[in-house]
Amino acid sequence: MEQAPPDPERQLQPAPLEPLGSPDAGLGAAVGKEAEGAGEESSGVDTVFVVVVVLFTFVQMTHNNFWLKKIEISVSEAEKRTGRNAMNMQETYTAYLIETRSVEHTDGQSVLTDSLWRRYSEFELLRSYLLVYYPHIVVPPLPEKRAEFVWHKLSADNMDPDFVERRRIGLENFLLRIASHPILCRDKIFYLFLTQEGNWKETVNETGFQLKADSRLKALNATFRVKNPDKRFTDLKHYSDELQSVISHLLRVRARVADRLYGVYKVHGNYGRVFSEWSAIEKEMGDGLQSAGHHMDVYASSIDDILEDEEHYADQLKEYLFYAEALRAVCRKHELMQYDLEMAAQDLASKKQQCEELVTGTVRTFSLKGMTTKLFGQETPEQREARIKVLEEQINEGEQQLKSKNLEGREFVKNAWADIERFKEQKNRDLKEALISYAVMQISMCKKGIQVWTNAKECFSKM
């Protein structure tokens, strides 16, 4: 692949059009398609998972030629690997296969253009980079690193196949979200992430983004000291706090409800066994008992699929839980910039005042120079002139800076707010869809329940 110059600001030639539906719609469209080699679980270290190809399309155009080329991105496999880490200690990690396909418009055939393996830490690196270079964008979150809000005591393990599978889907979703974002999708580093296996890490690091990152301490300081933040951002911060708290709470309770529901269903399975044993000694009731028992078993085992579906719903909510943090990051950046601006303005004002004092000869404010002057005598007019000159220069510079900071600030607010609006609409769409899908799940669960118990009732009444 072409070696990209380490300039992340440079935009890629391809420009996106509106994605076809939301990424989630894409997810829904293609679930279930299996690639070769899928589904087999080999023993040993390697575990290969079912491929779920998710389709996302964006249109590629060059400024001269106009040819339509669809790109599909999928995280199709996950594999356990062992290797040595930075401290030369052996470690086990999971690697994910990212495949990019281009689809010829005319015949619809897809050709694999790129495929490479990435591990979770590389995704994290990508995201950190995006956060630094696009501070006004609500950057899509990664799926959780560790399983939280688990209802099933067994699945808190990172190497658990179900967790890895859900993470695979989450990583794919992450990439799709970026690819469907009007601005982020043009980023070179993102493009390289998909296409350049070796050296990508170095390339990212060469951008020096870590240096550009704002220190956490600075940000915290700004949060406390900023005097005139934009009210909209303050409100947004409150909103994101509320969102995070309410979704966490919801996920926690949901996990407990799921646990209890599991208990109710599974205990019924015991009826199955006892009934079939009992039927052995009953002459008249025997058949009825036996078949009723079978239905109880069916009932008990139906909960596994039901709860698995619910896990996907929980994941959809989790994404927005993590999005709350991304929102807060944008607010923080605004606060920093605002604080910076306020400090610069303050500094300028004080310099102007100093200058004025020197020029008019009045000392209104305490200054060290004033003190020393009093103690050691007045300075010479030449010295004073020199100082005034320096100050005037600084004032000029300061005014320029203030102007550009103001401009920057306004640009930031404008762009950020545009993205926030975009985000809000996406969120409303997605959450509504998630809630509706939850209802659909409940309906399916009820229908299954009705069927099983109707069958059981028939058996009982025939006893």
Binding site: S22, L250, K266, V267, G269, W278, E284, L431, L435
Partner: protein
């Protein structure tokens, strides 16, 4: 011998011991089917032994059994029962209607106790009146049961509710306990009333009709004629204990009772556990709905959707509550009653005896007498009398056997009907529950899609 031993062990080990392998109560050789049961209950799914204490401790008196409502819905008056009676093998109309209600607390210097009001309505001639109202306490019920057992040692007497539950000793008079007991006592009396033989028992009649002082003085009297007869039969029966050759049918009964006892105990535990799980599910669900309301406060565009979801969840919550109460009304009491029945039946069957055994005994007595050379006239008269007496005893024994057999058949029939009904009810409750939830969510879905159509926004297909 084996059957004997098992039977005598039954009262104490009728329920699975906590901690130990809970699936095979009663020692002795495992039956075909029962050895599988321990492996079948997975540890992760059901830990039957954890804190089921209240089920395991019963009073030492094995004759105290739990009695439960005749029908799932508690009739409030004898008249309303006419519409809810389950007719058994007797197609005749019931002429004796009994209700137990209005528990009242009485405090004396010595003790505090509860009495229950018992209303009897009857058209029978032998009753002085057509309606009676008396108050009885648990002790009185115990007395009645004792008398019935004395008088009819070979009949299956219905069980009484437990005397106390050790775990809940302090809450002896808590509302739930009293209500459960009241229902059980109601069931107890009605079962007696429906029994072709027991219903005409004199003590039963006195229990239903006598005033408090009359009852106490009656209690003090010695055993009546019937019970004296019963005593003799019983005495003979106990001397027959240890008889080796039992007729086939009684062996069969024994086997059945053992297996049945195992199974019904398991079912009892499972049902109680289901109730517990449903209750905990309900408790969590109660918290689940309101969170969506909380969330709707910070979302402008999703307010309605979130509020609707919350109300759906709440409605499902209520449906769960109803399902739970259905379980505790219909299934749990019935299953529990049969647990107590099964405990009680073991000893009864051990009392049953066979004609061959009687013959053997008679031969033994005969042989004994023959060996004694000095036969006084008195004794000679005795030896002449003895075979006659034994012959009479043989008849009595045969009658008793037949009575037991008939009662056993009747009991079995009842059991099958009751179990069948209880489980059918449970299935019905579950169907109803899911139907309600389905309707709730479906209407939510319709309202959402209608909104979509109204807004005419480009949502997902």
């Amino acid at each position: 011998m084996e059957g004997e031993r098992r039977a005598s062990q039954a009262p104490s080990s009728g329920l699975p011991a906590g901690g130990a392998n809970g699936e095979s109560p009663g020692g002795g050789a495992p039956f075909p089917g029962s050895s599988g049961s321990s492996a079948l209950l997975q540890a992760e799914v059901l830990d039957l032994d954890e804190d089921e204490d209240d089920l395991e401790v019963f009073s030492k008196d094995a004759s105290l059994m739990d009695m439960n409502s005749f029908s799932p819905m508690m009739p409030t008056s004898p008249l309303s029962m006419i519409n809810q009676i389950k007719f058994e093998d007797e197609p005749d109309l019931k002429d004796l209607f009994i209700t137990v209600d209005e528990p009242e607390s009485h405090v004396t210097t010595i003790e505090t106790f509860i009495t229950y009001r018992i209303i009897t309505k009857t058209s029978r001639g032998e009753f002085d009146s057509s309606e009676f109202e008396v108050r009885r306490r648990y002790q009185d019920f115990l007395w009645l049961k004792g008398k019935l057992e004395e008088a009819h040692p070979t009949l299956i007497i219905p069980p009484l509710p437990e005397k106390f539950i050790v775990k809940g000793m302090v809450e002896r008079f808590n509302d739930d306990f009293i209500e459960t007991r009241r229902k059980a006592l109601h069931k107890f009396l009605n079962r007696i009333a429906d029994h072709p033989t027991l219903t005409f028992n004199e003590d039963f009649k006195i229990f239903l009709t006598a005033q408090a002082w009359e009852l106490s003085s009656h209690k003090k009297q010695g055993p009546g004629l019937l019970s004296r007869m019963g005593q003799t039969v019983r005495a003979v029966a106990s001397s027959m204990r240890g008889v080796k050759n039992r007729p086939e049918e009684f062996m069969e009964m024994n086997n059945f009772i053992e297996l049945f006892s195992q199974k019904i105990n398991l079912i009892d535990k499972i049902s109680q556990r289901i109730y517990k799980e449903e209750r905990e599910y309900f408790d969590e669900m109660k918290e689940y709905g309101p969170i969506h309301i909380l969330w709707s406060a910070s979302e402008e565009d999703l307010v309605d959707t979130l509020k609707d979801v919350a109300s759906c969840i709440d409605r499902c919550c209520k449906a769960t509550e109803k399902r739970m109460s259905g379980l505790s009304e219909a299934l749990l009491p019935v299953v529990h009653e049969y647990v107590l029945y099964s405990e009680m039946l073991m000893p009864i069957l051990s009392v049953c005896f066979n004609v061959k055994g009687v013959m053997k005994r008679r031969d033994q007595i005969q042989a004994e007498l023959d060996s004694k050379v000095e036969v006084l006239t008195y004794k000679k008269a005795d030896t002449d009398l003895l075979p006659e007496e034994i012959g009479k005893l043989e008849d009595k024994v045969e009658c008793a056997n037949n009575a037991l057999k008939a009662d056993w058949e009747r009991w079995k029939q009842n059991m099958q009907n009751d179990i069948k009904l209880a489980f059918t009810d449970m299935a019905e409750e579950n169907i109803h529950y899911y139907e309600q939830c389905l309707a709730t969510w479906e209407s939510f879905l319709t309202s959402q899609t209608n909104l979509h159509l109204e807004e005419a926004s480009e949502d997902k297909p």
